[in-house]
C-alpha cells in the first residue's frame, strides 16, 4: 500500500464500552508498533510486533488493553471497558526491519471516551 492506514479515524465511546482500532501497515513491513499520544505530549510506546509475534507489550497501561496481529499484517488494538483516561490519539507505525529503521506512521485514531 501507499502508506500506513488506520481506522476509524475518530471514535467516540461511552465509558465502559469496548473499542477496536485497526492498523494496516505498509506491505512487507515486518515490524509494527502501537503508540498512545495524549494532547501536547509525545507518542508513548504501547506494544511491538515482529510479524505475528508480540515481542514487547511492556507499554500497555493495563490488562484492559490487548493487541493482536494474527497473520503478520493487519493489527488490532482492543481496549475493554474504556475509561476517560484512555482518551488519546492511538498511532500505529511500521518498519522493515525494526532496528534502526524508519518508522512510518499512520494518521492515528482519535479516541474520546465520554
Amino acid at each position: 500500500g501507499a502508506g500506513v492506514s488506520q481506522s476509524p479515524r475518530y471514535k467516540v465511546a461511552k465509558r465502559g464500552q469496548d473499542v477496536a482500532l485497526r492498523c494496516d501497515p505498509i506491505s512487507g513491513h515486518v515490524s509494527l508498533f502501537w503508540y498512545q499520544q495524549a494532547l501536547g505530549q509525545g507518542p508513548e510506546f504501547l506494544t511491538y510486533f515482529q510479524n505475528e509475534a508480540q515481542l514487547d507489550k511492556s507499554g500497555l497501561p493495563s490488562d484492559r488493553f490487548f493487541a493482536e496481529r494474527p497473520e503478520g499484517s493487519v493489527s488490532t488494538l482492543k481496549i475493554q471497558r474504556t475509561q476517560q483516561e484512555d482518551s488519546a490519539v492511538y498511532l500505529c507505525a511500521s518498519s522493515y526491519p525494526r532496528l534502526a529503521n524508519t518508522q512510518y506512521f499512520g494518521p492515528g485514531t482519535r479516541l474520546t471516551v465520554l
Binding site: F33, Y35, Q41, G42, P43, E44, F45, Y48, L55, D56, L91, R98, L99, A100, N101, T102, Q103, Y104, F105, G106, P107, G108
Partner: protein, 113 residues
C-alpha cells in the same frame, strides 16, 4: 527515562536558524528525528546511528554525540513549513537483549513570516 529535549519551545522569524537538542540517560543505538504538525502523524526526518555520525539534507541536519548520548537537530534558514513539534525517537538495548524505543519530550517550533 524519557529523553529530554531543549528548548521546549522556540519562535523564529523566517530565515533564522535553530538548534534542538535531545539528551538521553541511556546508551543509545540510534536516534530518529520526526516533525509532527497539529492533528497529523509524525513524519520521519532522519536517523543517526551510534558512531557519532552527522547527516543532513537540504537545510536540516543532525548530529549524534555517542559519548554524551546527545543528538542535535539543526534547522538553517527556517521556512514557514518548518513549524511543528519536533520529537527525537531513541533506541537502546535493555537487559533482556531486546531494544526499546522511546520518544523525547518534544520541542514546539513556530516560524513567523
Amino acid at each position: 527515562q524519557q529523553p529530554v529535549q531543549s528548548p521546549q519551545a522556540v519562535i523564529l522569524r523566517e530565515g533564522e536558524d535553530a538548534v534542538i537538542n535531545c539528551s538521553s540517560s541511556k546508551a543509545l543505538y540510534s536516534v530518529h528525528w520526526y516533525r509532527q504538525k497539529h492533528g497529523e502523524a509524525p513524519v520521519f526526518l532522519m536517523i543517526l546511528l551510534k558512531g557519532g555520525e552527522q547527516k543532513g539534507h537540504d537545510k536540516i541536519s543532525a548530529s549524534f554525540n555517542e559519548k554524551k548520548q546527545q543528538s542535535s537537530l539543526y534547522l538553517t534558514a527556517s521556512q514557514l513549513s518548518y513549524s511543528g513539534t519536533y520529537f527525537c525517537g531513541t533506541e537502546y538495548l535493555v537487559a533482556s537483549g531486546t531494544y526499546k524505543y522511546i520518544f523525547g519530550t518534544g520541542t514546539r517550533l513556530k516560524v513567523l513570516a
